[in-house]
């Protein structure tokens, strides 16, 4: 480090990097380490008993299953929305474009109670779904709806810039060589969008797995049926079972970190494909 510093005439390297490392350690690294250190108080068997108890396993299935499905729904509709926002002009487009980021800006608890109000049996949407036998609020389907809301901006905002940068020459060349519109999309445009689409999918998935605030209001939190994994941590905490809470947290953290590495890989791939750094 000292060697590379001699190349720069700018001041403040030691101060800024030192402050960054101290602040990062105090706020993020040391508290995160506490979670892993706490689990060492458990024997392997105790740890396994907690993380493989039937109620917790049911929560993994719901959390991961609903998150995957929500990310897939967002991949399809997020792509359609990104396409519409880039390729078509229509009234209210600027407002819609700005509102796509609403799930980033709206507090999750507010989103949670608003979605519950919409999908409750007497709500705007629930009153039409209930007679059809579709129960959304206070059921696993409600978890899915909340996770779709939370993950919505990710795919739109990863695909949109790539679509905007796309040279029209590529599609013109495809068209002049006799490709129809669908062939042009499938063989020319889609492969360029794919890394960004997968990145958006993975980001939406990662966010959905850890989500708490928007889900707990609409889920109904029925044991074995509609409990998400973060709620299992809360339940243990409320019983002052810190070891149990920590064990489940470690499972989630390890999963999140693996996902983070995968996302970094996807972003590097996108950058290589499109020359754009995410």
């Amino acid at each position: 480090m000292a060697k590379s510093r001699s190349f720069s005439v700018l001041p403040g390297f030691g101060l800024s990097l030192g402050y960054t490392l101290v602040y990062l350690s105090l706020i993020v690294l040391i508290p995160l380490a506490a979670v892993f250190i706490k689990t060492t108080e458990l024997s392997w068997e105790q740890f396994w008993n907690v993380v493989s108890s039937p109620r917790v396993v049911a929560s993994y299935k719901l959390s991961f299953g609903a998150s995957l499905l929500a990310a897939a729904i967002n991949a399809v509709f997020g792509m359609l929305l990104a396409w519409a926002l880039v390729r078509y002009s229509f009234p209210g487009k600027k407002i819609i474009d700005a509102l796509v980021d609403l799930p980033f800006a709206l507090p999750t608890a507010v989103a949670g109670i608003a979605l519950t109000a919409l999908y409750a049996p007497n709500g705007w949407l629930g009153q039409y779904l209930e007679p059809l036998g579709i129960k959304v609020a206070f059921a696993p389907l409600g978890v899915l709806v909340a996770l779709v809301f939370i993950g919505l901006p990710f795919v739109v905002r990863t695909v949109q810039p790539i679509l905007e940068d796309l040279e029209t020459e590529l599609e013109e060349a495809a068209a002049s060589l006799g490709a129809n519109r669908w062939q042009t999309f499938w063989y020319v445009v889609f492969p360029i969008l794919l890394p960004a689409l997968l990145t958006g999918f993975a980001l939406a998935f990662a966010r959905a797995v850890g989500e708490y605030g928007s889900v707990i209001f609409i889920a109904g939190n029925i044991p074995m049926v509609s409990e998400i994994t973060p709620l299992m941590i809360i339940t243990r905490l409320e019983q002052y079972d810190y070891n149990g809470a920590t064990a489940i947290a470690v499972v989630m953290l390890v999963f999140s970190f693996v996902l983070l590495l995968a996302i970094n890989g996807l972003q590097a791939w996108t950058a290589r494909r499109t020359g754009r750094t995410l």
Binding site: I27, A34, A109, P161, G200, I234, Y242
Partner: protein
């Protein structure tokens, strides 16, 4: 992680109707009308159901029992205490992360050192930690049976189930926002201007104040506004460390939860509507900053 996305919006070509006509007029880049209608129809239906309706529902539910009930819910002392605590948590955590963001971006963008990529990944780490785990972490460190539990009790310092815990949790969940905004921006701007200033005799603070700051001011505002929205809206992490003591450790989102669980729906939505207004305000400023930074010749 969210910022990884929003940052892009800043460096992209201007999203607007002008750029769409370029595609719509070109036979090679437009779809048949019926395909266009299906894509628009599906996309806008999805937008309406999942974004527009939840936002409208907040205001409709808040005003369902009339303005009287609405104002009453907002004038409740517990609601006012919650607003004050939320403002306090944001007023502490946003400046802390602002100083950190500038320091991190300065070291990463203006100097070369080993492990830079690892540092950037570590700064992003808080985005991939579930809010509930954030709360748990601080309970394990500062809680009564945590690492510093005994010492804190002996010295009569309360962090968990008190305001400091709420601030800490808020700092963690908003940690990367400003740094993630500034790092790519300052990397793209390079070092030449600052180096020239130093060679001409400027001091460190002068370089920052007269060269760097004017260059990054829009990115800075962008990061601050998103950081602030998250700081005021955080629920999961704050919920774990708060203890839900009315009038003392309740933030606005927690107050919404309590009212909602007590079936005071109109009151819950009334407080929620303030947060929804904040969200809309955030999006307006964000769009405005994007518009400013896209201006031709900028």
């Amino acid at each position: 992680m969210s910022i990884v996305i929003s940052k892009q919006a800043m460096v992209t070509a201007v999203p607007g109707s002008a750029s769409a006509t370029r595609f719509e007029k070109n036979r090679a880049t437009r779809e048949p009308l019926w395909v266009k209608r299906i894509i628009l129809g599906l996309g806008l239906t999805f937008f309406t159901i999942f974004l527009l309706m939840p936002l409208l529902a907040v205001f409709v539910e808040a005003l369902r029992k009339g303005l009287e009930v609405y104002w009453h819910a907002l004038r409740d002392p517990d609601a006012i205490a919650a607003v004050q605590l939320t403002l306090l948590a944001a007023a502490i955590s946003v400046p802390l992360n602002l100083v950190f963001g500038i320091a991190a971006a300065w070291s990463i963008a203006k100097f070369d050192f080993r492990g830079k990529q690892i540092l950037i990944t570590l700064i992003d780490l808080p985005f991939s930690v579930s809010p509930v785990i954030v709360g748990l972490m601080y309970v394990l460190v500062f809680g009564a049976s945590g690492w510093f539990g005994n010492w804190l009790v002996e010295n009569d310092i309360k962090i968990i189930f008190a305001v400091p815990g709420i601030v800490l949790a808020t700092v963690f969940v908003t940690f990367p926002f400003i740094a993630r905004e500034l790092i790519p921006l300052m990397q793209a701007q390079g070092r030449e201007e600052e180096e020239a200033a130093v060679v001409l005799g400027a001091r460190g603070w002068q370089v920052f104040w007269y060269i760097t700051l004017p260059n990054i001011k829009w990115g800075l505002l962008y990061g601050v506004i998103l950081c602030n929205a998250r700081a005021m809206g955080e629920f999961g992490a704050v919920s774990v460390v708060s203890g839900h003591i009315r009038g003392l450790t309740n933030t606005m989102p927690l107050h919404v939860e309590i009212l909602y669980n007590e079936y005071q729906f109109s009151a819950a939505f009334a407080v929620a509507s303030l947060l929804a207004i904040l969200a809309v305000f955030t999006l307006v400023i964000k769009s405005w900053v994007e518009y400013r930074t896209h201006k031709p010749g900028h």
